[in-house]
Symmetry: C3
Subunit: 295 residues, 3 copies
């Protein structure tokens, strides 16, 4: 019934212990780790002195998989934080694209409970915002803070498509209708202008080469979010002001249109766009997530 | 009838003449000052060549006192500007929290007239915006330019509370109802997310340690501002885009929602939040105030 | 009937070949050029390695002429791009201020067709946005991409004046009524606060010294833009967040209020104002135009 093979997060640099400089700290190291020469060392010197140690669970959005976070995760690791990047149904190596929003949520919830993660900062990007809204309803006692990065914060009863402009919605519906397996593939010109507008053409092509058709159904499912809006969990919103994936204002957009729905929340603003900075400025992104997630 | 003991501004570094480097210029120095060795020197070399010399009167907001400006005032002084930071009724060393908006305004007006200040840039922060609106009505002939920094610009007949979101207003009313002396104390989590969202936890705690309960009444008083809106005084608005103290947009917020009410005004934008940068980046703040206040 | 003497763009540094360092590349050089000593050299080493070579046509706005672009054009040239800055009717050396929007458009269209320019990035600033809207209707097959920099994107049937706030519109109508030749001259205080708000007073005065009364009629002409809104030409919007020439939001402003009308478009954001950065930071501006215009 649920054929998705859950992929336990693989740190993108499986041989990080042998990398020159060796500045990666696995989640279980607690500040000590084994150098490639076998010596046990404190990684204290690799971290910023005042950094609070946090655990991050990063949930990607549409037209992405868990490798979306590779660069940001590496930087956060190097600073002493634990980082998990769960893959979810219909994405990554999952061959089945016929998934529901509930299946996606279940992937992340199962990942968290299986690894028994607690007291973590749960970050959702773009469509991932709707995922962390639903995940939070199920495991709120494990979550330290929710961080929405240019992410959908849906109202109770809304779908992602309800937040598209009429033109975008029409375009996505046409792309969906043209697919054989109920997916939506972003044509390159759309991806280039909306997701990676600040990138060079080379970076844009490199990122585009990694994306695959997105299961359409979850984008059009209306979500019951009554429980979410009753949660007292602390929340942050990270907004990048060159993000062009949704119209910015006049009744649309990430911030303030959707961020405002969180009520009390911490705002952090940066100058990036929707995708590019995960590749080109992972240290900037890690800093913004840290500012959003710390006590 | 008005028991408030007006505190004449004390420059936060009373021994500035003896500080290493000695780069503070008192308001009365007119470019000359006494070194610790007794020599009278021009401080010309300590100032940026192109800086116009200005006089600033800085009016703080709620949950703050005149020391809020210490860092910014020190930088402006060091650049050759004169700086005054009047304390007002219900704040600082004033033990009486039972104050009205008119008493607060009177404190600032009295300070200005007593020192016979003229041709100054009058800066108001947050609630201080409503104070400079009323002060300007009384001493407009002495004011060179009004500068609102993430400050309320109330419409005629409005109160500060009218600009809160319904949720904020409800929260503040509950906090007010729970106090014994009609004040509102910000709980730390609110202060942390809304006022010092970009600060480290340590900075946030340090700043929180300095705040005291805010007299509630002036926040709910409706102000007659007909005279203000007839003033031809030049105006500027300084907006920091990580300021999260009010919702930003959708009918709320500093800019453009309230800044637009100034009509012709000069806009200056920075990347700070509501409180933090006065502590961590006073030179940036001094530069923004200078850009807002110069001819 | 159309007495405007079209001024073929003169590169602002006619003796660029003899400048020290000689780092200007004329449009026709195709990567090779003659040094002052007569040697033919590749200018490859003067360009950023990853820069795509583009052709820019820059269309200025009101209270400006083609020299508005001198600094930006010089930087773009030095990076290997071809740059053209057409003058248009009623501006520059044209003594006739009695012009229509159609005459202005014709100036730019004639410039483009006379030089047989193709595959260029057409940039419009401020009022120039309305010009490139109309130019694009006539020569869309020659245009690679339209770039609006804090520029009007009028709806079909609108005039520029329709996008002013009531207060601005009233002010401009008074200034127009007070002129003898149906022009509008910006008083310095308006220019200083709205166009060069981040400049020093010296820079502001220097820029003000170069401006002349603007023909009023084209600002109040309603434009038929049905053909524009049917064009598939790629589009970008460059927005500077300290730009204060129009109110920013609440139903007014460059972005998102007018940028949103472009539908799919690439957003690039910077921290400048309406005029200043062309003088003080031409390299920043060139970079933003390149980001907006590249593939």
């Amino acid at each position: 019934m649920f054929p998705y093979l859950q992929e336990i997060y693989q740190f993108p640099y499986p041989d990080y212990r042998f990398m020159p400089g060796g500045n990666y700290s696995p989640p279980y190291s607690e500040g000590w780790w084994l150098r490639s020469n076998g010596a046990l060392e404190s990684d204290e010197r690799y971290r910023l002195p005042a950094q609070q140690r946090l655990t991050f669970v990063l949930v990607h959005g549409s037209w992405a998989d868990a490798h979306f976070w590779d660069g940001v995760a590496a930087v956060l690791h190097s600073q002493g934080h634990a980082v998990y990047t769960p893959e979810y149904a219909g994405h990554g190596k999952d061959p089945n694209k016929d998934v529901t929003h509930a299946m996606i949520t279940k992937s992340v919830v199962d990942f968290i409970t299986k690894l028994n993660l607690r007291n973590f900062v749960l970050v959702g990007h773009s469509f991932g915002g709707t995922v962390i809204q639903k995940v939070a309803e199920q495991v709120s006692d494990r979550i330290k803070r929710l961080v929405f990065w240019d992410a959908f914060v849906l109202k109770d009863g809304e779908s992602v498509a309800n937040e598209f402009s009429p033109q975008m919605r029409k375009g996505f519906e046409q792309l969906r209708a043209g697919s054989k397996d109920d997916t939506i593939m972003l044509p390159f010109p759309l991806f280039r202008d909306f997701f990676v507008n600040t990138a060079t053409l080379e970076e844009a092509k490199r990122m585009y080469a990694g994306i695959t058709p997105e299961p359409a159904k979850p984008l059009f499912e209306k979500l019951d979010l009554k429980a979410f809006y009753a949660l007292p969990t602390p929340k942050s919103y990270v907004y990048f002001y060159q993000d062009n994936a949704l119209p910015q204002g006049e009744g649309f957009g990430w911030h303030p249109h959707m961020s405002i729905r969180l009520g009390q929340s911490r705002l952090i603003v940066g100058d990036g766009d929707h995708f590019t900075d995960t590749r080109t400025r992972p240290a900037m992104m890690a800093q913004k997530f840290y500012e959003a997630g710390r006590d």
